[in-house]
Point group: C2
Chain length 896, copies 2
Amino acid sequence: MPKKRSSKGRLEEMLDSRRRAEQGNGSRGSHYRGGREDDGTRTGFQNNGRDGNMFVMEEQPFSSSRTHDNPFTSTTAGASSRSRGSNRNSGSRPRRHSLTAQLNASIDLGTGRRTSKVSVNGADGLGPGDDDEDDDEMILLAEEPEHDPVLHRHRSFSPGILGRLGIGRDARPDFRYDDYSTIDWARDTALELKRKKESVRFQGYISQAWDAASGWVLMGAIGVLCGVFAGFIDIGAEWLSDIKEGVCPRAFWLSRKHCCWAEELAEQRDTCELWKSWGEMAGYSIEDDARLAGASFAVRYFAYMGWAALLAGICALLVVRISPYAAGSGIPEVKTILSGFIIRGYFSLWTLAVKALGMVAAVAAGLSLGKEGPLVHVACCCGNALSYLFAKYRLNEAKRREVLSGASAAGVSVAFGAPVGGVLFSLEEVSYYFPHKTMWRSFFAAMVGAVVLSNLNPFLSGHLVKFYVEFDYPWHWFELIPFIIIGVFGGLYGAFFNRFNLNWCSFRNQSALRKYGITEVVCVALVTALLSFPNRFTRSSAADTIAALFSECAPGSVDPLCDDDRSIIMGDLLLACAFKALITIFTFGIKAPAGLFIPTMFVGATFGRVIGMVVEDIVASHESVSMIANACPNPDTCITPGLYAMVGAAATLGGVTRMTVSLVVIMFELTGGLTYILPLMLAVMISKWVGDAFNRDGIYDRHIRLKGFPFLDTKEEFSFATRAVDVMQPPVSADEPPVVLPCDGLTVAGLEDIIRNHTFTGFPIVNNRRDMLPRGYLIRSDALDALAEYKHDPDCDMSAPVQFFEDDAEETSFSRAVGDAMPSEQALDVTAAVHRDVFQVSHTMVMPTVIELFRRMGIRQAIVMREGRLVGILTKKDVIKHMHVMTARHANVQYH
Amino acid sequence: MPKKRSSKGRLEEMLDSRRRAEQGNGSRGSHYRGGREDDGTRTGFQNNGRDGNMFVMEEQPFSSSRTHDNPFTSTTAGASSRSRGSNRNSGSRPRRHSLTAQLNASIDLGTGRRTSKVSVNGADGLGPGDDDEDDDEMILLAEEPEHDPVLHRHRSFSPGILGRLGIGRDARPDFRYDDYSTIDWARDTALELKRKKESVRFQGYISQAWDAASGWVLMGAIGVLCGVFAGFIDIGAEWLSDIKEGVCPRAFWLSRKHCCWAEELAEQRDTCELWKSWGEMAGYSIEDDARLAGASFAVRYFAYMGWAALLAGICALLVVRISPYAAGSGIPEVKTILSGFIIRGYFSLWTLAVKALGMVAAVAAGLSLGKEGPLVHVACCCGNALSYLFAKYRLNEAKRREVLSGASAAGVSVAFGAPVGGVLFSLEEVSYYFPHKTMWRSFFAAMVGAVVLSNLNPFLSGHLVKFYVEFDYPWHWFELIPFIIIGVFGGLYGAFFNRFNLNWCSFRNQSALRKYGITEVVCVALVTALLSFPNRFTRSSAADTIAALFSECAPGSVDPLCDDDRSIIMGDLLLACAFKALITIFTFGIKAPAGLFIPTMFVGATFGRVIGMVVEDIVASHESVSMIANACPNPDTCITPGLYAMVGAAATLGGVTRMTVSLVVIMFELTGGLTYILPLMLAVMISKWVGDAFNRDGIYDRHIRLKGFPFLDTKEEFSFATRAVDVMQPPVSADEPPVVLPCDGLTVAGLEDIIRNHTFTGFPIVNNRRDMLPRGYLIRSDALDALAEYKHDPDCDMSAPVQFFEDDAEETSFSRAVGDAMPSEQALDVTAAVHRDVFQVSHTMVMPTVIELFRRMGIRQAIVMREGRLVGILTKKDVIKHMHVMTARHANVQYH
């Protein structure tokens, strides 16, 4: 049903031009300007709206760095970035998607005319035979013209079976989306529908049952693999950590606990004769005189630092040379990827291997980092690799994200031995979409992972984590006061840590430091070891200390925490707390796999334990106060300092990550009882409130913004009554029509011209530039593919029309507009690449609703309509930018 | 930017009419017909699409009943319903919304022209003074014309403070939505934005802080109230249950346990000399000879039945006479209301009182029902009542639903002593929208409720439920086989129960039985008591029996389960299981508050315990089999039959409700340890799969459909590639344009005509009927209000134009079209009632995406666009209908 406006009269054209003029001049009534207070700022973004992959945050003071080694750092701000961004888009486009634009130079024998046809899987043509087309595609790619800078692309080698499994950082390109681009959930839904329909048609009952069961099989396999990896990492880290202090001469590959496992008494299993410290190995027995003891101490100190530097160096080498993606905790990237972003190779098998090995080395080196966050990354790598075994998930980015949600639940489950907490962590912190089906499967994967790990029994304790505690002493209502103090401390620490860690990371990115990644890791490890060794609480691994802090002093315990000299203990604890708090700022962000949970818990647990000891003293010295006397018949066992340590750990974690339910549930699963859930909840709640008063987001969200990912936070509340028309591109003030592809009379040359001159990632298709009635949407890369294929034909005609729709009437309309000189059989056929289902929003729609639409539907762009006419385009990046600008501007009146 | 088409040339008009003709004739290309295989069925719905509140399911065999006493029952099917539905809409419209259409007969002094103006809170005019406008509104209502059948409405009395709190079933009308209508989440979002903006402008810092904190205060208050109600219900039901068997002569208001609380030995607290059975009270001591024992038995039997009938009668009287909404479990209605439906009075204080008292009586009467589901309803009533104390929640239906989500979490939390399980239950089963903020607050409410209840200590055991168990015996891998058998049983039972309960409920609705609600309850109670008394496992309350089934036989236990005569025990258990399974079918649905959890757990626990005993026997007789010998060093303590009972309870619950994660977490919190989570999960998983193989939905979803609520299930997967154009109204095949309100030249008489002739709940506004460019949406009731107000003016001019937009150019365009004869100051001004932000979908959009849009954005309707032109309207009901039709049609090829 084409619009036949080409033969319209003069009057109508006059009216149209007048309408256009009104549109541009901002004569749209007062509500258009109502919510627009940000013209000044936004002009800097105006043309930057939809170009390339850069995304620059204004509010990060140090983010405009120009690094090249870190692929995530947002490179530029302002005008210069724009040209660079577009260069990158046009100049060298690495690893272009290829299955998307499966190019067929087909000859239609029926009509005899030759059409260059581009077919897109999302919209069409995913038959059961698609798996075999990789080779065809390679041949087609080899025939591509190299001379055209717009169309130049790297050749990728045939992926093969290893490539399919993601081996090699870039070996397995995703065939449908560009790297650093956002997926389209609605499109992938349609793709899955298509696949199901096809499979119903072609497969037997057994295949269908397998297809239905494959999700469960996959989640189970992920659980098993996560459990195995976690066990390997736990055991490996344990052994290498102990190597810093000594060795089992009988069998050097045994950790201290495994070495002493033969001892009959359980208490002796931690320290036995079979295990030799490096001092003893060097011949200085600890029982010798003071001079020898001093020498022994020196040897042990030296060995400790030497091992730390060596292990840290190995770790950094692995990360820098083999897989830079293995650095950091990975949770910011996992969040971004689950929200629909593509970072190719982030979950590859190389990353998996380097992350697992590097984590063992980094933990063993005594760096102030944990393995909980990286385990989520490892779990996602496992999930990604395994999902390639199933066509259902291999070919569908949106479906694969369901698998990754479950995998991250399994990762947390094995990290903390908390399956329910893992599922809630995935739901609350990591996942973007979490339908009920995914929740149930996540739970399954988390359960399987926990069961597998508990059967591996890495700590020989029957528990999945070192700091599992089980005590059931009651707490008293008056203790809520110290718990509140701990909660406030947690919030303050979170705000402090988030601020200075972010500042340091920004500084690193723009200083010369970023060139010396390996040196930095080794130096941090040396400083950490140097300062850790003297303090008995920082010398052993952080998890061991946390376990000691959580547990109670049994009578006659040899634990250093249970000494009689309480003031020295408290001093050491506070020193350890301050040291960890400072060193972690410099550690989180170095080129090593680094989780935040353990150091953060360490800080909280030491502080909490100190508070607990103080309260213990107060109670002991105020036995006669009636409140205390009523609550505690026996003042000696009245206070449980271990509980204070746990509350402290929860509070600091809450302050740093701003997690809520999942954090409480994880702590609840660590203690195995409902008794302490109220103190834990109180501390987490207060620490979140206090932290939020200083800075808004958790550390992961801040790192996401530092790295410049286009992440639309599901938790952030946006409550400004701006409207779609204030955010869309082009802005109303620009007085220019949006860049569109008109159906009537667009030639191939015209299309190429538009694509060359504008770097937007996609273009709306309208009936014509006068009426602007929307008909569809064409992704830039699809258009480029079609153009490339078209121009590959030596006798291509650049003045031929572009055919957007199969409807024949369209061509008639075109012919009439352009004249009969054009042979229509030369048309560039992009019908299969056109998306007809782009979301439409009214220009008056309030932004909170628009934002919910983007969040909940996971769309990349929407077209803005005014009375049936397209007046602008809204992209995810525009929306995110608007949210940040408005929130930063109105921070003083914003409240929740 | 008005469209000035009124002066278009002849050519353009010709083109337009041709375009319209093409549109109607179905010449739209093949894809339009592709997915449409349901023309035949759908024609029955064609005009029924948007009318009234009726919603009839085709697949429920008995649902076309014509009850009048049950306000939920869908009354009709087919053509007769349509006329009735519209009668109901037009004839007597009870409790019309009024604050929505706050009628202002305002005189604009500036221009001197008189405009009847209708202003809508959602779009405009919610100032801080809105609370005071109820009285103004009453005056305006009193002046309304009574003679017009379309505009006739009931007068509601001024609500006052009790009305505000929801006292009286219908005393507090919601001022903005009709009863039995669906709320518009996007509109309420805008409303909240507006409110925040106003409050920023007018309030001080303290008020703002209070506004921000009020959500937490409210959730805390809900938790406290829930805990108190649960405690009251627990204690009351305990006492009345015991009254059936005997009395505490010392103080008749004490339950057996409270009566015996003075006993020193804990074991004697359940049976002591102070407590007298009715046999003893009648003078027959149990130690007397056989004849007297027989008489004692007869007296006790008679007293048991008498009390049961009496209590059941009281309960039914309360429910039928005072609050019919208190019947049933309430979870189907809570789900529907949380999804955005309005059922006025469902959460009123009368309902709360009747539900709480009725529940005590019903449980005490020994009916086969539990208090867990109704506690969710009670919690929501508390939440609803308390939310009226806060303007933020009182005036916003969408915000109030966040509160109700949290309240249902608190309800489950106090029902099972499982705060985490409660939150997950709310998330998985009940809530529709569950943002992170709500989750955290729900958790808070659930925690507070659990803490309050545990301080009330209703069972004198320190636990929140009777059947809390704490054992930690390991289970063995070979036991997974019996667990799988139990899972299969659970699934089969669920399918069986769901099917026959639904059939019986449908039968009740259409038979004469529905008129004898009270008699039915008493009869069911008598039959239950008659059959319960002889069996020792059914005589005591179901919760007690479940507690006994879950726990283990300690040596020397007096528990009847631990007798040596195992075959008699097993026989009794199986009899109890079969009896409960059958009687529950007839019980769930009677006019009494009735939860499903307890009877379902009873069935599962008895069956599971029997299986456990069988396995125990097998292990005892096959000690020498190597697998058993390896796993169990001591065969006597190898098997834990109590664990089998727990697994059985989880399996039947899974089969009946089809819950997953939340069910496992609730069971996990009941046992307080991770040890048994794998068996529980396995059983729930298998029972869900087996159940799904027979019938698709859980009992709650089936009851929702039986009752005909427009509930768009978030869990249901829809995977048919139909398109928006196949579902929209009017259908393409109808060859008629959609009913719209054109901006150009619609007179007041024309508007009234359209509203009288069509029963749709709303009408899209377009620029004109030729171009069909969408401009907004007008809700039927707003239009009716505006018309009523307009016609109230004696010299109103029915041929005056309707003014939809404030833009002056609009009127100019109108004047030009209608001519200058019309004085524009007489225009009917509906500008404030027009929604400009109605969602638009492309006609080619696949239905799974459209369904996700409806689900995730919570919208009531969307307009279907084809190239910028409105071609149809999609309502939530159309979408639900389509889903059911397609799923029923393709049940044979559908798989997940």
